[in-house]
Amino acid sequence: MSLLSVEGLGKSFDGLRVLRDVSFAVQPGQRHVIIGPNGAGKTTVFKCIIGLLSADSGSITVDGRDVTGLPAHARVSLGMACTFQKTSLFWRLTVEENLHLALLARKPYRFRLWRPLPWHADLRREARELLEEWGLWSRRDHRVGELSYGEQRMLEIVLALASGPRILLLDEPTSGMSPAETARAASLIRELPRSVALLIIEHDMDVVFSVAEHITVLHHGEVFLSGPPERVRGDERVREIYFSGGARPHA
């Protein structure tokens, strides 16, 4: 059974149809990438899946369970986590405090009104483990605003992983990164545990083909093609979609 199943997703804004009958599935542990030219509706699909937008039609299923009507925060407890195209962190808090908030979300004591937060040792320990694993421990006391762009993007991924998700959605994780940072990010993504499926929206074709096990191509709000990388890479029409009206890319 698919981990995430999107069926017949449709969405319109003020009469403008943005998504039409979008369907695809993500298997457990799969690295699934969504590509498509600008305006294809990729970010809209993303927001519908995580619950920030409500779809007009269609359904979204996680592990056989229909989540279409659930608010965003409820989907997280079912194993969904995400990072955004525009980095979204707690700017004025330190790296460590950011992670504390992320980890707290799954703790039973998050509703407690007494016992100040730093007294919870398990929280601090888990935060430390995660930060060390991702090489951010040395930066733990720095406010997020002081981090480099690449470090911020990485921290966002760490925050998303803190909830122990079964599927991680990444919206253009390498956007705005230098080539070196992009390569590093791509290799980090490849090293993510197999227990977590990945649904990635990506523009950088090098990253796409180095990570993807399955690619869904979106065009004008519809699924144009969905299949293994070789099939997508070899399809002439895909290249045309991307570069219609423009020069052909170098091979």
Binding site: F90, E97, L101
Partner: protein, 337 residues
């Protein structure tokens, strides 16, 4: 262990504050005790507004609705019931309920809409109290016929009321402090920092905000109840936006982002108002100018200025180091909201 951004209950500080409350009457002139009592009541009100503005990021121009509701509850119910605990509990409950209902309705709207809705809400209550003359006495207001009695006799003397209000202030401060540094309080602050990210992390931000708002409303209602006991008279303008605006001034001038800032602002406001109105009836003008000054200053209120000054003093006294000057300025910039 990371520093907890200074939010655990600073018991030495609380003790010092308690000592101050205890001994202040000795240092004040005769009329000063009454003013100090009023300041404690307003400080509680201002702290509750400071909670939602500075920790939940909800700017409300209608907070007086909850204060006035608490005050009127004591006044109205006090005509039939005289038990202080019952009256105060009722005041808090009514105010909290109003906050919960209005919050649930208004949170669907974003920042500016929310501001306008809270404003309108307070004015509606004001108009209701104003116009329901037979019940509330209309614009003339109504008297409060009960006196506080904690179980060992009526408290009616000036000094008795002073210690009652002062003690209540300390109690509220400690409670709010505990909330702010608790896990739930941290979540609320996270929501203020970045609500989108909090939702994406799995928090039901609506219920946390609603809880903070209800708590603040209840505390404001508590302040209103105390006001009834203190002033022995309630009028509709305790509900309206002019009074809400005054609380807002106290919060901004005192400093957002801290619990005591609004309390300091309340003291400042009342003292300046009393002082200025001695010379001219246009104290609102002066207050407005001071307020605008602080807003334009943009670096927080009195409390932040004091903190920055204190840090500069410490840095100046420390043994000379090449980066000394920069660190004082740097950390002052960090602290400002």
């Amino acid at each position: 262990m990371t520093r907890a951004t200074g939010t655990r209950v600073p018991w030495p500080g609380v003790a010092a504050l308690a000592l101050l409350v205890l001994l202040l009457p000795l240092a004040l002139p005769a009329f000063g005790v009454g003013i100090a009592t009023e300041i404690y009541v307003m400080a509680i009100f201002a702290m509750s507004l400071g909670l939602i503005i500075g920790y939940a990021g909800l700017v409300s121009l209608g907070h007086a609705a909850f204060f006035g509701a608490g005050a009127y509850t004591v006044a109205l119910l006090g005509e039939r019931v005289s038990n202080t605990y019952v009256l105060v509990a009722a005041a808090v409950a009514v105010a909290a309920l109003l906050a919960c209902v209005s919050g649930a309705l208004f949170f669907r709207s974003t920042g500016a809409y929310f501001l306008m809705l809270t404003l309108a809400f307070a004015q509606v209550l004001f108009a209701a109290a104003f116009q329901a003359e037979s019940v509330t006495g209309g614009s003339d207001g109504m008297g409060v016929s009960v006196a506080p009695d904690l179980g060992f006799g009526e408290i009616s003397g000036e000094l008795g009321l002073y210690y009652l209000m002062g003690g209540s202030f300390l109690l509220c401060y400690v409670l709010l402090r505990l909330f702010v540094s608790s896990p739930a309080g941290r979540v609320v602050r996270g929501i203020m920092e970045n609500e989108l990210r909090m939702r994406a992390l799995g928090y039901n931000t609506f219920s946390y905000k609603l809880f903070a708002y209800t708590l603040a409303g209840g505390v404001a209602g508590f302040a209103g109840a105390l006001y009834s006991y203190f002033n022995l008279y309630v009028t509709p303008d305790l509900l309206g936006w002019v009074f809400s605006g005054q609380a807002l001034i106290m919060v901004i001038v005192g400093g957002t982002g801290t619990l005591l800032g609004p309390a300091v602002g309340a003291a400042f406001f009342i003292v300046v108002r009393n002082y200025v109105s001695f010379y001219t009836e246009y104290w609102a003008l002066i207050m407005g100018l001071i307020f605008i000054f602080f807003v334009l200053l943009g670096r927080g209120g009195i409390v932040h200025l004091l903190q920055a000054g204190w840090r500069r003093l410490l840095a100046a006294r420390a043994p000379r180091r090449p980066r000394e000057g920069r660190s004082a300025a740097g950390s002052a910039k960090e602290r400002a909201p």
